[in-house]
């Protein structure tokens, strides 16, 4: 395998009223980013030009019609221009259906390009759910939208923050509903997807920990029986299939242990179980990865940061980490498929 291989990444611009465009200008002029990938922005060229002027990042914007026209020179930020933002009508820091519609179109095109194999992976910037909904796109976020665009029925959200990788069995549902959805088939799916993703992240033999649902992991049935009825059978099943899985472990220590390197990933049963752990780590450069798509997709783990839009001060670290992680996953996907 050539050491020179650099994956081609489609980077969506996200919500134009937020900090996304500014963050991209910082990330794509970072030599570390250029060293690991060939990036192309799917967005609006005028919005990118304005963002560049705000941040003063050392680069220039170049519009390309299609990917094959990209030159990938380090100081040039190449944009596939959808020309869908009227800057004179845009107020930064405010929910705007125009920006919501535009953000949808970037995601759609980037997904199609990646599905078609024109690029190796996609990395997404933050979108504003309210703007998306006001534009008539009723999704609860990127994950649901991407699943639909890709025709994927079993997806899962993984957050990566430092050494902590957490996949979620359930996400944007009520706690009550989440408990009903904690069932062996779904846990099996998330475990398999996690094992595959962690391998793509460069871990040869992943060891995955599974959180219980209940306090103290149910304490032998005293505080709930979902561990015995649903979680343990799923773990036993994937072990028979050769996966290295431990659990169910008490939720209040499993994520700490994983963040300390005792496991390569942890499985959370519900949204807050995983998200509390990740946010308490206090790391500002987390990455969100969608598992179960036919494509590799990583994302920033923060919102549109309307408060900082237009100021040039937004932190690009999360996007830089998301790009690097997508690069690593592309590299390992290639290596793993070559070794088959």
């Amino acid at each position: 395998m050539s050491e020179e291989y650099k994956p081609l990444l489609a980077i969506t611009m996200g919500d134009a009223a937020g900090s996304g465009p500014e963050i991209i200008t910082k990330a794509l002029t970072d030599p570390e980013v250029r060293a690991v990938c060939l990036p192309v922005v799917v967005g609006d060229a005028a919005a990118m030009q304005a963002a560049l002027e705000i941040t003063g990042a050392p680069g220039e914007i170049r519009v390309i019609e299609k990917l094959s026209a990209a030159l990938f020179r380090d100081s040039i930020i190449e944009v596939i221009d959808l020309h869908n933002i009227r800057l004179d009508r845009l107020t930064r820091g405010r929910v705007d259906p125009m920006a919501g519609k535009a953000a949808y179109e970037y995601i759609k095109l980037a997904t199609e390009m990646t599905l078609a194999g024109e690029c190796d992976a996609m990395v997404t910037s933050a979108i504003n759910k309210e703007a998306l909904n006001k534009a008539g796109y009723h999704y609860d976020g990127h994950t649901q939208l991407l699943a639909e665009l890709c025709g994927a029925s079993n997806v899962a959200m993984m957050l990566v923050s430092g050494k902590l990788r957490v996949s979620h069995v359930t996400t944007h549902v009520s706690l009550f509903r989440a408990i009903e959805l904690v069932r062996p088939e779904r846990i099996l799916t998330v475990l398999r997807l996690t094992d595959e993703a962690v391998r793509q992240m460069g871990v040869a033999e992943p060891h995955i920990a599974v959180a219980g649902l209940n306090p103290h992991s149910g304490e032998g049935g005293l505080f709930g029986d979902e561990e015995m009825r649903y979680i343990t059978p799923a773990i036993e099943e994937v072990r028979r299939q050769g996966l290295n899985v431990t659990g169910p472990l008490p939720p209040d220590s499993v994520f700490l242990r994983t963040s300390e390197g005792q496991f390569d990933a942890a499985i959370a049963m519900y949204h807050d179980q995983g998200h509390i752990a990740v946010k308490m780590l206090g790391i500002t450069h987390g990455v969100n990865v969608t598992l179960g798509l036919p494509i590799i997709r990583t994302s920033v783990d923060h919102g549109t940061n309307f408060g900082k839009a237009g100021k040039g001060t937004a932190d690009p670290t999360s996007l830089i980490e998301a790009i690097k992680l997508a690069g690593v996953m592309c590299l390992n996907r290639r290596r793993l498929s070559n070794s088959d």
Partner: protein, 332 residues
């Protein structure tokens, strides 16, 4: 402060099959908090064996009657409670006899406090499953305390660093939690937390109420408890003059509290609080009782059987519990 002026705090070993004796010996050997004197209430032989196990010399004055202690100015003394059973030390599993010993010592210490012989009580880590007095099995130590002190309203509150915490549905299956979240239960928790902050003399009384559902229910899209149960309770608390905010998404409430934005957090369920606290690396969580006629605190951890007998247990949580008890005794 002269030793005799310092409040005398009774300390028990907790479940001797776990780390309780070890961490107490470590606190004594490494130096007790300087705002108190300690009276260890427990079996002298068990205590001697615990010192031996850590190669620490045992040179504490031992008394058999509480009135003998009044004349002692020793910073640490022992009130011998002959119980035998040194063979249970660091057994590393629950044992009914050890549970009985722990409960007896607790009752003895609390009795001394009720009589005014000691200024407060700190009990060592226990497990619920072995809490016997005679043949009677108790559900938890709060049940024992309420009965002994005839204080049915007693409740525990946790103090984590500077932040106080109350959890509405603690040791119950997660699926039962939504049913336990009612305007009344949320209001009760807010009021309890407010009372604990006042009891401790906290300089400000800002209370955050965590949400139950992700993103605080997102306007009812992913759960209605925030709208139907939690918000009405917050409004009622505010009408009563309590500085309560929320519902706040559970994945940011402690991030904000530890930044100093809140003095107390009401949690809906066990792991909402405990995942956050463990990730934040807070070893020192002290449980204290409010609506109690006597001052009682305890470390938040259990007997940690996995660490029993290894000499590696961390005594800082127990030391913090002693400090809090002494602080409260001096405030009184």
């Amino acid at each position: 402060m002269k030793n005799k002026a310092k409040p005398l705090i009774a300390v028990t070993l907790g479940d001797i099959t776990g780390i309780g004796p070890e961490i107490l010996v470590k606190v004594v050997v490494e130096g007790i908090p300087d705002n108190c004197r300690l009276l260890v209430v427990g079996d002298e032989q068990v205590l001697r064996s615990s010192f031996d196990a850590l190669d620490a010399p045992f040179n504490l004055p031992v008394f058999h009657r509480i009135d003998e202690i009044a004349t002692s100015g020793a910073p640490v003394a022992v009130l011998d409670l002959p119980q035998g059973s040194t063979e249970l030390l660091a057994l590393a599993r629950p044992h009914s006899e050890a549970g009985r010993m722990a409960a007896e010592a607790l009752v003895k210490a609390v009795g001394l406090a009720a009589e005014g012989q000691v200024a407060g009580v700190v009990y060592g880590p226990l497990v619920k499953e072995t809490l016997y007095i005679g043949k009677r099995k108790y559900n938890d130590e709060t049940q024992i305390l309420r009965e002994v002190l005839q204080a049915p309203e007693m409740k525990s509150v946790a103090k984590v660093g500077k932040v106080f915490r109350v959890t509405i549905a603690e040791h119950v299956p997660l699926r039962k939690v939504p049913d336990l979240i009612t305007p009344q239960s949320v209001l009760n928790a807010i009021e309890l937390l407010h009372e604990a902050l006042l009891f401790y003399g906290a300089p400000s009384l800002r209370i955050a109420v965590a949400a139950l559902n992700p993103h605080a229910g997102e306007g009812g899209m992913v759960g209605r408890e925030e709208i139907d149960q939690i918000t009405p309770a917050i409004q009622e608390a505010r009408a009563k003059g309590i500085d309560a905010s929320g519902p706040i998404p559970a994945d940011t409430v402690y991030v904000r509290a530890f930044k100093g934005q809140f003095d107390g957090v009401v949690n809906m369920y066990h792991d909402q609080a405990n995942i956050a606290l463990k990730m934040a690396g807070f070893g020192e969580i002290v449980v204290l009782f409010v609506r109690s006629p006597v001052i009682i605190t305890t470390p938040s951890h259990g007997p940690a059987y996995g660490k029993a007998g290894k000499g590696t247990a961390d005594p800082n949580n127990l030391r913090a519990a002693i400090e809090v008890a002494a602080f409260l005794a001096q405030r009184k």
